[in-house]
């Protein structure tokens, strides 16, 4: 396990690569279970939202739009988008799925947070001082405006911010969802979120946030290459022996 010692031994054969245990088994399972669950929650959610857009011409300034006051720039979504995605007239299907899979989505999310805390893996994820600046450098590098990604342990600053944010967004979706689901019984919660309409607005825009996260995440994974992607399935990444070890970092927490 201790690569450093082996390399000090002169008789050791020249090993330049090692397998890095990057993602723990439970985290991989929870990540991949979340993927279809989030997809189902978003699709069924859109099917529920559609109902508010039906006869939109009668009520053009309702909750789901981009606009201000009685000015609406665009309804979300325009008719053509609904039709292209085959959303109309699936409201009950949406509710059936949403109120079943919400439990699995919530349990998986809670299990992830609990496991991250117990295992200590949260330390790789929590944003730290200087991460915003680093995230900016990462962005410049990704856009080829600047050469060389900054050094990282498991995640760079941009990843720390994005992954932590998406966990917080998940929690936000559960809380705003609950406020919409039981606005009378949990009216204190609903009122705290600004009332029923605001809670719906927040729930909706969190969902749009997930969609944007998904697009960027998939693009980044595609650019990062097979070695990185595979590690989310197998858990291991092939790394040069001279790069810092995550296992050593993990041991240092104990």
């Amino acid at each position: 396990m201790d690569i450093g010692n082996r390399e000090e031994t002169p008789a050791a054969p020249p090993v330049t690569l090692r397998l890095e245990r990057k993602h723990l088994l439970a985290i991989r399972w929870m990540h991949w279970i979340n993927f279809p669950l989030l997809f189902i929650m978003i699709l069924s959610g859109i099917r529920i939202y559609w109902n508010d857009s039906d006869n939109a011409h009668l009520h053009p300034h309702a909750v789901y739009r981009i606009g201000f006051g009685s000015f609406t720039l665009v309804r979300i979504f325009p008719e053509s988008v609904w039709n292209a995605l085959h959303i109309p007239w699936h409201v009950t299907q949406g509710m059936g799925d949403h109120f079943f899979f919400m439990w699995l989505f919530a349990l998986n999310g809670i299990a992830y947070v609990v496991y991250s805390v117990i295992s200590g893996e949260w330390r790789f994820l929590m944003p730290r001082r200087g991460n915003l600046r680093e995230a900016f450098q990462v962005m410049l590098a990704s856009l080829h405006l600047r050469g060389g990604q900054p050094l990282k342990k498991k995640y760079n600053g941009a990843q720390r911010i994005a992954y932590s944010a998406v966990i917080a967004m998940g929690a936000g979706s559960l809380i705003t969802g609950l406020a919409i689901y039981k606005p009378t019984q949990l009216h204190y919660l609903t009122t705290m979120l600004g009332g029923y309409e605001w809670a719906r607005w927040e729930h909706f825009w969190l969902t749009i946030g997930f969609c944007l996260f998904f697009l960027v995440h998939v693009a980044q994974v595609a650019f990062a290459g097979w070695n990185n992607f595979r590690s989310m399935v197998s858990g291991f990444e092939i790394k040069p022996t001279n790069e810092p070890s995550l296992e050593r970092e993990r041991r240092s927490w104990r």
Partner: protein
Amino acid sequence: MSERKVKREDPAHHTTDAEVLAASRKLTRRSFAVAAIGAAAGFGLYRWVDYSRDDGMQPVRLRRAFQANAALSRKVFDERALAPTYPASRAENLRINGLIGIKEAILPESWRLQLVGAANEKNFAQYVPDVTTWTYEYSRGTESTEGDHFTFVPPEPVVNRGDPIQERAGKRSRGLEEAGPSYSTVSAGTPGLLLAMADITRLPANELVTEFKCVEGWSQITHWSGVRMADFIEAYPPARKPNGSLPRYVYMETPNGDYYVGYDMRVCRHPQTLLVTGMAGKPLTQRHGAPLRLHAPTKYGYKQIKRIGLIVYTDLKPDDYWTKLGYDWYAGL
């Protein structure tokens, strides 16, 4: 893949890069095989849930999830909470959204409330041996429905065939809308009370400004006036069963039987559940459900029936219009 196996293949034991790569290939093959099995299992679960037998236009397993969620909600909340109320100045004009059961304009003087299942009903002056013989009259023609919303109607509505027994008796068939006739409606020969409006408005008057919430996704603060359903149940209490228990449910329908809703008795006794006779300080209009409709801030709008013609206290879980079309019976907020 077990972590123990992984440890056994720890890179520290590899002596060449080729060995490291070989170990990685082995781990990759194994983990992708497990992932494929996991994905198949996940897809299987989804199919098992979403393609189960139909129960009221909802896969039965999703229907059971509705029911389990409702049972949990009853346990946790027990309809205790009071909905927030607002100053009357914040009230809006409520949208007219769906005229199922009230498409024809009723003549108000022909309206009576049929009540079935009340205790000692024979002691009431309003007792009749057969409530179903009461005839509701409608004005000729129908009210304009222009500009109204029929959001719930799916692209191909099912037209139900008329009921030959009703038609032979010279009556309009009941349950002519998409969900069909109700199985909870009362049959000819059912005794009960025939209450006039004065029998209801003699109860203490109540005003309430609450947020009305439609399952479609819109909500409006609305100013209601009427009497508490709880006071109504107090004045016309349900008959106890032989074992002394009270019926668990309340069933309501429109005079023509086209729209019908079932409730928990607990919800009807909620202090904010109103039998509504007025809106925004004015008498209720026909399209808002005149002469009498329900408001319950613990429920979505589709449970707030317009133009109540019949109320039944019952121990059988009542039929419900939108439940048959895929919606949740409980619909508790």
